[in-house]
Symmetry: C2
Subunit: 75 residues, 2 copies
DNA sequence: GTGTGACTTGGAGTCCGTA
DNA sequence: GTACGGACTCCAAGTCACA
């Protein structure tokens, strides 16, 4: 499985745990709603800055999200 | 200090600790030598996939490099 | 509330060279 | 071995209408 697909899965998982909609996350992180959708479906590869912008609104450290991606890549 | 500048500083630090040249790191990670230079000087923002490609050649977890960026952003 | 196609703009990443 | 520049390709960033 590719990095961007795993990333999208983990992003969605965290967002849903926080009970946030794509719309709300997009608004708070100052990104577009459809872009969040693209990320979650693994259609885009986020830059480091995008990862920082997203995690800042999800009560999670950027490195922690990246660590989740690492773990799931092994599987 | 911006995320990309901090990232560049940490990337250079790790690379030099490993006693690798920009050339060698570029070759191993299948990126361009001048691009490594741009990253280290904070002129480019790496995608998540690029971070994985780089750290795979530096004996460090992607999340660990990101964590170093976080720490140094606080300062 | 989300998925998707189509689109424009900016930047990721490469290749050439010079110093 | 690295910094830096121009020119290039390709994709991420960001937006829209519609389902």
């Amino acid at each position: 499985m590719s990095i961007e697909v795993i990333f999208g899965q983990q992003l969605r998982k965290i967002r849903e745990e926080r009970k946030l909609s794509q719309e709300e996350l997009a608004f708070r992180s100052k990104l577009d709603r459809t872009y969040i959708s693209l990320l979650e479906r693994g259609k885009r590869r986020p830059t480091l800055n995008t990862i920082f912008a997203l995690t800042a609104q999800l009560d999670i450290a950027p490195s922690e999200l990246v660590r989740m991606v690492e773990k799931n890549l092994d599987i």
